[in-house]
């Protein structure tokens, strides 16, 4: 019981942080929306030829959701790393509170705020003409996949937030994820890439996740990559969850 209570106490704390600096949510959603505008209105006309008859805004929206989550978890890492630098994490570490509660609270609030950012970006996409061809069940499966992916990346962010020597450095892992988004079928079909890049793009972890999301929203079916997508998410989640708990207990954090 204490585990849940403490997790909620910690989540309330970081939700207060988020509520009191709403500019972070704006910063998180502004770049995906800017990319959306750029790709749809500037490049979209040309890229439309490649998407096999799918409207470009419909093609790009799932990838933009992934982009939003990546840009959101960068803040999670930043915030956690500032806590580490200021010695607040050390205070919690010397208290009789389970690590899974201290970090879980951060994960919960981060997941909630990132899902909220996704809603904002999705609303912007709707404003720009995005229409899904999905029923209620597909939307629920889509939301569940987004939530699972957010949670997995949040724990990755927590790991790097604990590991980094500075708050600024903590967010740098997200640049690698950004590159992975560009070398994936998020913005353009992989068929248009050179062969080396294409092989990479077709086999990297983000690809089945993006393709499953797109399949759910544009075709209204789960698609054949769903289990691979879920397996990647669960794998990332478990590995970084365990690694984060370990580093929380063993790392000498010099504040």
């Amino acid at each position: 019981m204490n585990l849940i209570k403490d997790t909620w106490t910690m989540a309330k704390r970081s939700l207060r942080h988020i509520m009191r600096s709403p500019d972070t949510i704006i910063t998180v959603v502004i770049s995906p929306i800017a990319i959306l505008l750029l790709f749809v209105y500037v490049l979209g006309g040309a890229l439309q030829q490649q998407t096999g008859g799918v409207k470009y805004i419909d093609f790009i929206t799932p990838g933009i959701i992934i982009f939003t989550i990546v840009s959101g978890v960068a803040y999670t890492a930043f915030r956690l790393s500032s806590d580490v630098q200021k010695g607040i994490i050390n205070r919690f570490r010397t208290m009789p509170v389970a690590p899974s509660s201290i970090l879980g609270g951060q994960a919960l609030s981060s997941a909630l705020s990132n899902l909220f950012s996704c809603l904002l970006v999705l609303a912007a996409a709707f404003g720009m003409g995005f229409r899904a061809n999905a029923g209620l069940v597909e939307w629920i499966v889509f939301a569940a996949l987004v939530a699972l992916f957010t949670l997995a990346l949040t724990w990755m962010a927590i790991f790097f937030g604990l590991l980094a020597k500075s708050a600024e450095g903590a967010a740098s892992f997200s640049y690698i994820l950004m590159i992975l988004i560009f070398i994936s079928p998020s913005f353009v079909p992989t068929e248009s890439m050179t062969s080396v890049l294409r092989t990479f793009a077709q086999n990297q972890p983000l690809t089945p996740i993006i393709e499953t999301m797109r399949s759910l929203l544009t075709n209204g079916v789960v698609g054949d990559k769903a289990w691979i997508a879920v397996a990647w998410c669960v794998g990332i989640l478990v590995v970084f969850y365990l690694a984060s708990l370990r580093i929380y207990r063993t790392k000498t954090i010099s504040a």
């Binding site: 207060r16 942080h17 010695g87 010397t94």
Partner: protein, 310 residues
């Protein structure tokens, strides 16, 4: 008296640097224990080991009878740490900071606990302002208030007054004394000798990885040569007359400007005896000043002795 902390042959190496080379110390229940050392001496490392933040390479440390390495979870329930930099949440208000810790410590009424502590630490007016608007002294007070929640029997304060202005420093000393009077055991580290002198029941000097010396402030001061008294005279004649009389019993040095330095203890009886001798000889000094040995003298003596050993 019961012991609160017992440290035996504690060793810790960071990469190739031996920070602790076999530290032994004992802290009695309810006392203020000051660990004195210069920057980088390893004070924080000892605190980190005792508060379960890091583990020692070898040796044992018992806090309230529990081994910190074996049952860290049990230790965490009976201690609290106030680190070197006030670890308060800047975004939250003072009240929210206190309630956060109270919730995590599962006290019955966290709102009431927060109110009491705000009052006790003179933070009621600032209670609902974000902590980032607080002055250095206020942040420290909030920090300590957060450490008191749940009444842990042992409190660790890592350099509690570093960076505070003189008034805030004095206030902090009052707070620490009041805590100790309430029966809490306090383990503090400091670079300031006057702070250890003012607060501590027991002082231990950490130097080059071991405790070079420990004891009460009085005991430590006895380790340095006696104090000095300096007398000033109106004339050469008086100066030499005084020197002739006093050199029978004391080590006397003639200084410039009609001054006489006499090595003498700090006790009142010894001083009285000195003046009686002068008076019997009808010599009246024009001026008098006394230099009492300080912990600084002890500290520098230890450091210098160690250097000579090498």
């Amino acid at each position: 008296m019961d012991t609160a902390i017992t440290v035996t042959d504690l060793k810790k190496t960071y990469k190739t640097h031996d920070v602790l080379k076999g530290v032994n110390l004992t802290v009695q229940k309810g006392e203020i224990f000051a660990l004195l050392g210069s920057n980088g001496a390893g004070k924080t490392t000892i605190i980190n080991i005792l508060t379960t933040l890091t583990t020692a390479d070898s040796g044992t440390a018992l806090v309230n009878g529990t081994d910190v390495a074996k049952e860290p979870a049990k230790i965490r329930a009976s201690i609290s740490l106030t680190g070197q930099f006030a670890a308060v949440d800047d975004v939250l208000t003072g009240r929210e900071n206190l309630e956060l810790i109270a919730d995590l410590r599962h006290v019955n009424d966290s709102a009431q606990t927060a109110n009491e502590l705000l009052k006790k630490f003179d933070l009621t007016d600032a209670a609902d302002r974000p902590a980032q608007t607080y002055s250095g002294g206020m942040r420290r007070r909030l920090d300590i208030a957060m450490s008191l929640i749940g009444n842990p029997p042992v409190i660790f304060l890592d350099e509690p007054t570093t960076g505070l202005d003189p008034q805030a420093r004095k206030d902090m000393w009052q707070t620490i004394k009041a805590l100790a009077n309430g029966g809490t055991t306090i383990f503090l580290t400091t670079q300031y000798l006057d702070e250890a002198d003012e607060l501590a029941d027991t002082i231990a000097v950490l130097h080059q990885g071991t405790i070079s010396i420990s004891g009460t402030a009085q005991e430590l001061k006895k380790l340095v040569p006696n104090g000095m008294v300096e007398l000033t005279f109106d004339s050469e004649k008086q100066l030499h007359a005084a020197a002739d009389i006093l050199k029978r019993d004391y080590a006397v040095t003639l200084a410039d400007d009609l001054k006489l330095s006499i090595a003498i203890g700090v006790g009142m009886a010894e001083l009285a005896e000195l003046f009686v001798q002068l008076r019997n000889a009808h010599i009246e000094p024009a001026g008098f000043s006394q230099k009492v040995p300080t912990l600084d003298d002890v500290f520098f003596k230890i450091i210098n002795n160690k250097k000579e050993d090498q």
